[in-house]
Symmetry: C2
């Protein structure tokens, strides 16, 4: 990333991006620029769509922007999934926001035996991850999946991906060792609800060849801390921190 | 840590601990057990004081506990400090809670040029870190220091500790490299306010021999994410995750 001046405002757009395009904003985006930021005609923002890199753009003061030059070329993303049991609203928002900042590519809500919520608001979640992507200068937005049961998700699990089970079990190897032993498998992290996993879930998870149970240290991490901690460690050692 | 059954409730006490002691609870603790948890006479809890390990104890149903056997011997802690600019109340709470879960030994609030709060409520912070220590099964409680200016803190900086500056500068080496090159120096992490550091602060920090500027990846982490991310990576690679 260059160290040149960056406009603070970034917007995620669905449109294809190239220099010199006149692109209509949706109602919320136009309202945000005009009424929340009080952006004038000619105000500079950055725009990205997850495919074409980042462009600088000029606001027309009403409902469109005009793109200027490309400020970042598209980069390939981390390929790391996060599976998490929805918790209370604020903590779920927190998981979505922090995992977006830390580079998760897929966010998969999972209903487990002790999940104490029956619902997952995917529209709210999608808005959250777009906001976090805009702020964190990601060039992509993570995919938020429909919530599903742990059983269904495990039944359809892809062969080339390891599921790292962030468990409180003190007998599991530490996460850096698990990551070192993955032999080219892609990672996914699984964090449970506040009450943890049931004994039945635990046994089933540990019986699956693609599941690796990992120790995240001697302190018990809260549900919303575990996934992001795994992601931070993965990003630092094997990710794009260079 | 043993895998035996653990009582869910843990209390941090100031008193010295040994088997068979009758220890008075303070008013808040007695209220919590009796009225919040509705704990009966004979209810089992765990207690720790940061010095004597953890003991199981029995509630007398009123205002005292009687300690039984030791359930964990005292372990030495991570020796890692976190310096952070106070942000909004919820985010400051979050920094305190997550950094406690992840093993910080000292939490030092720092007023910087762009810190947008003049106050730091040390009583509230101390209650927060005690609660997080109780829940995360730490055997210690991190020390919360009085807030002070960055200038004063840097002027009194100890020679044997590196200050890792979690900056957005893309030219700094990645954190794992900084940690690998520390040659036995102890770490401290510094994270700024929402607006980042001023150019003057940045120049001054970079002129100091004990300051190491670190890259925490290509995505811009929020103020409250940066410190805990550094701590997670340090804990995983050099800490007590074994």
């Amino acid at each position: 990333m260059s160290t040149e001046y960056k406009a603070k405002t970034r917007l995620y757009l669905a449109s294809d991006l190239a220099a010199g395009r006149d692109i209509p904003l949706n109602k919320d985006q136009a309202h945000y620029l005009r009424n929340v930021l009080r952006a004038d005609t000619g105000a500079k923002i950055h725009v990205f769509n997850g495919r074409d890199g980042e462009y600088v753009a000029e606001f027309d003061g009403k409902t469109s922007i005009v793109t200027g030059t490309q400020t970042e070329s598209q980069k390939s993303d981390l390929d790391v999934w996060v599976l998490f049991a929805p918790v209370k609203k604020d903590q779920t928002d927190f998981i979505l926001q922090k995992c977006t900042e830390l580079g998760a590519s897929v966010l998969q809500p999972v209903f487990t035996d002790y999940t104490n919520t029956e619902r997952f608001n995917i529209e709210r979640a999608a808005a959250n991850v777009i906001e976090a992507s805009q702020q964190s200068r990601r060039l992509t937005v993570p995919a938020v999946k429909q919530a599903d049961s742990l059983k269904n998700i495990l039944a359809a699990w892809p062969k080339d991906r390891a599921l790292i089970f962030c468990d409180e079990m003190r007998t599991s190897p530490p996460l850096p060792k698990i990551l070192a032993d993955m032999q080219g498998q892609k990672p996914a992290f699984l964090s449970g609800p506040e009450g943890g996993f049931s004994a039945k879930e635990r046994d089933y998870l540990n019986s699956l060849p693609f599941v690796k149970s990992a120790n995240l240290g001697p302190r018990v991490l809260r549900a919303e801390t575990a996934a992001m901690t795994g992601l931070a460690v993965y990003g630092a050692i094997y990710g794009d921190w260079k």
